[in-house]
Amino acid sequence: MNTNLKISNVTKIYPGCVANDNISLEFESGKIYALLGENGAGKSTLVKILSGVIMPDEGQIFLNNKVLKLKSPIDAKKNKIGMVFQHFNLFETLSVFENLIIDSNETRENLREKIQSIMKKYNFSIDLDIPVLNLSAGQKQKVEIIRCLIRSPDVLIMDEPTSVLTEQETIELFSSLKQFSEEGILIIYITHKLKEVMSICDEVAVMRKGQLVSVSKIINEKIETLANKMIGQNLKTIKKKISNEKSKEQLIKISNLNYSSEDPFETNLKKINFEVNRGECLGIAGISGNGQSELFQVLSGEIVSEKDSIIFNDNPIGNLNPQERREYLMAFSPEDRMEQAAIPQMKIFENVALNNFKSSNFFNNGLINEKKIKEHSQKILSDFSVNTDNVELKSQFLSGGNLQKLIIGRELITSPELLICFNPTWGLDVGAINYIHETLIKINEQKKSVILISTDTDELLKLSDKICVIYKGKLSKIMNANEVTPEKLGILMGGGEID
C-alpha cells in the first residue's frame, strides 16, 4: 500500500523564535527523504510535530489524504508513524525487553517472538535481557528501531541517527534503512550531514532558520549546492597546508603509559607511546569505545598515572591533576560539552572563570573579580564569533556549536602550548565545524600543538600532521598524514594490520 504524508502550512512559534514558518511538504512511500538543515533550523520541531510530541500553532498534517490530529505520541503510534529520536528515548536502567514491552499490549511470549523474528530479518543481534545502559549507542538505536518496527510502521522518522554511530554502525544503519524503504516504509531522514544525504536519500528538503528553502531530487544536487542552501552563504573549503619544514622540537612525550580500570565497561590502555612536536597536530583515530575517553582522561589528568610516563616541556607531569597541568600551559576540550566541559546551568562568564584559577587574575584574595571575567568573556564571545554578546546568559541556552566555540575560546585564553581535544565537532553543523577546524589550524600555525582524538576520519585527515589509530586500548604506529588514506585508517580501526 502506498503511503502519502503531507504537511500543510505548519507554523510553530516559540517565544522569541519562529521554529517552523509555514512549512508545506509532501512525502510518498518507497523513497527516503532527507530533511536537511543546520542545528536550530527547525527540523527537530517539525519532526516533533509529526510524532505528536508537540502540536503546531497552525497548519495540518494529512496521512493518505485524511487529516491527522496528533495530540500525543500515542496518536502518532496509532497511525503507524514511528520515530527514532536523536536523544534516545530509552529507559537506561530497564532491560531491553522491558523497554520494548512498556508500550505494547501483547503478551510477553508473543512480543519476544516478534522481536526475535524482527532481529533475524534485519540481522540485528541484541541481548534482550541486559539493561540498556550496557549497550553501545548503535545497539541502543537498534532497540529504538525495533520498537518502531514492532508496530509495523508506515512512516519511520529518524532524527540525526548517525550522530552517535561509528562508521561501521552507520553503514549497517544505511543498509537497514534501504531495506525498510524497499518494503514500502516511508522514511524521513533528518540530518545536517551532507554526505549521508547524498549517499542514501532520494529527495531532499532544506530548511534554514525555520523556513523551507528548497525541495529537490538528489540527482540534481551536489554537496556544495546543498551546503550553500543550508547555511545560506558560500562555504569555503578548508585544507591544511602540511609544511615540510617542521620543527623537531619535542613538546610532549608519552612513554609506556598503561591504565587498567576496575570498571568492566572501560577500556584498558596498553603501553601507549607517542610524542608530539611543536606546531604539530597528532590525530588519533578509532571507533568509539576503543579507549579514547580513557586516553583523554589520562592525558588531561582526570586519571593520574606515573610521573615519568608523561613528559611535557621537559617536566614530568604524569601525576598532576588537570588544574596543575593547566599551569604548565596544557588545555583540554573534552567530548561531552554539557557534562564535562561546561556547567549548563551556570552563566557564560562563570563557565569562563571555572578553569582559570591561578594564571589569570580572575580572583583576588579569594574574591571573584567579576568585571575582569566579564570583560574577558566578552572578548571570547566576539573573538570566537559566538552568536551572543550576553555574558550573563546561561550556557545551556547556547547551541552545541556556540558552546563548543566558547569552550575552545576559554581553553585558548591562557595561550596554551598544547590543546587536547576529543571529538570537538561532534554533533555540530557545517558552519560551526568549519570554524572549529580553522581555529585548530590557526593554533598549529602559531607553533602550538594539538592532540586531536576523533572518531571522524575526514576531520582527522583534514587537520592532522601525523595520524595513528587506537584499537582496544593500543595505539598503532604513527604515520605521516600525507601517506594515510581513509582505507588504511579503516583497516586499522577494525583491528587489521597494514605494512
Binding site: S51, G52, V53, I54, M55, S72, P73, I74, K77, F85, F88, N89, L90, F91, E92, T93, L94, E98, I101, I102, D103, P131, L133
Partner: protein
C-alpha cells in the same frame, strides 16, 4: 542463666511489631521514589495517619472506618504535596520538609482533645493458635491484620515492580520522565498516583502506631520513624526486600538496647540509643554495595521536577 524459649519468641514478636510502621511507610515511599518523586514528608504523613486513626476510632467507634480513614488522611495530605510538586512544579525537598512540619503541627492541634483517652483493643487473627506450638506460635499467630499485611507488603511491592506492567511504567517514569512522556505515558498522572499511594501507606503506618502498637495518642508519637523509613528506602537502594531486613535490624536493636539498659549493661545509654541507627545504616550499606546494582535500581530522575513543553 536459662533462656526461656518462649521469652525469645516474645522478643522476636516485639521486634517484628516495632518494624511494622517502618515497613509500611518505607514500602509506600519506595513506590513514590521509584517514580522519581522525593517526598520528605513521610514523618508528617505518618503522624497525620496516627491522629486520624485514633480520633476516628474514638469518635466513630469503628476500627474499619478508623484504619481506612487514616489511609485516606495520608492520601489527602499527600495530595497537597502532589499538587505542589507536580502541578505547580515546586521543589520536592522543600515541599516535603514543609509537609512534615505541617503534619506535626496539625496533628498536635487535632490531638489536644484526645490526649489521655485510652485506645481500643484491636482484634487479632489466629488468636486461638497462639499457644499451640512453643516459640513459633507467638511469632506466627495472634497479630492484627495490619501486621500480616506489613510483612507481605515488601514481597508484593517487589512483585509489583518487577513483574507487572504498571510497575514497569512506574520504574520507567522514575528512570526517564522525558522518554516516558515521549512514549505517550502520562508522567504527571503516574507520579500523582505514586505519591498518593505513598501517602496511604504512611497513613496506615501511623495508624498502626496509635491504634495497635501503643493504643493511645501522644503528641509527636511517631518520634522520627518517618525519617528512619526514608533512610531505609535510600540505604536499601530502593529494594523492598532489603527494606524488610533493615526494618527488622532497626526494630531488633531498638528492642534489644531497651533490654540491655534494663539489665544494666555498662555501656553509655546514649551509645545504646544511637546503636540501631548506626548498625542499620552500616548493614544496609554493606549488603547494597554493588555499584552496578545501585546504578540499576536508583531512580535516575529522583527529586527532579518534570516539565512538559508544548
Amino acid at each position: 542463666m536459662i533462656i526461656d524459649i518462649n521469652f525469645v519468641g516474645l522478643i522476636i514478636t516485639s521486634i517484628m511489631a516495632s518494624a511494622v510502621p517502618l515497613i509500611l511507610a518505607s514500602c509506600g515511599e519506595l513506590i513514590t521514589e521509584r517514580s522519581g518523586v522525593l517526598n520528605l514528608g513521610v514523618e508528617g504523613m505518618m503522624i497525620i495517619g496516627a491522629i486520624s486513626g485514633f480520633a476516628l476510632m474514638t469518635v466513630t467507634g469503628s476500627l474499619i472506618i478508623a484504619v481506612f480513614g487514616a489511609m485516606l488522611a495520608g492520601v489527602l495530605i499527600s495530595t497537597i504535596f502532589a499538587f505542589l510538586t507536580q502541578t505547580l512544579i515546586t521543589n520536592h525537598v522543600a515541599t516535603g520538609l514543609a509537609l512534615t512540619i505541617f503534619g506535626i503541627g496539625i496533628s498536635a492541634m487535632i490531638g489536644k482533645n484526645f490526649v489521655g483517652i485510652p485506645g481500643k483493643e484491636f482484634p487479632v487473627l489466629f488468636g486461638s493458635l497462639k499457644d499451640a506450638i512453643p516459640f513459633l506460635s507467638p511469632i506466627l499467630f495472634g497479630h492484627s491484620i495490619v501486621f500480616y499485611f506489613a510483612f507481605a507488603l515488601p514481597f508484593i511491592t517487589n512483585y509489583f515492580l518487577k513483574k507487572t506492567k504498571i510497575g514497569l511504567i512506574v520504574r520507567a517514569v522514575g528512570d526517564s520522565p522525558d522518554s516516558a512522556s515521549n512514549q505517550g505515558i502520562n508522567v504527571r498522572l503516574v507520579r500523582y498516583l505514586c505519591i498518593l499511594y505513598g501517602g496511604a501507606m504512611c497513613g496506615l503506618g501511623g495508624a498502626y502506631l496509635s491504634m495497635i502498637y501503643t493504643p493511645q495518642w501522644i503528641e509527636n508519637m511517631t518520634g522520627g520513624r518517618g525519617w528512619i523509613a526514608l533512610a531505609l528506602v535510600v540505604f536499601s537502594t530502593w529494594n523492598p526486600i532489603k527494606i524488610l531486613i533493615g526494618a527488622m535490624i532497626f526494630g531488633g536493636l531498638t528492642i534489644i538496647q531497651f533490654h540491655m539498659q534494663a539489665i544494666g549493661v555498662r555501656i553509655p545509654v546514649q551509645f545504646l540509643t544511637a546503636l540501631p541507627y548506626i548498625v542499620t545504616i552500616i548493614v544496609l550499606v554493606v549488603i547494597s554495595r554493588d555499584s552496578r546494582k545501585i546504578r540499576l535500581s536508583t531512580p535516575s530522575s529522583l527529586g527532579k521536577s518534570f516539565y512538559k513543553d508544548n
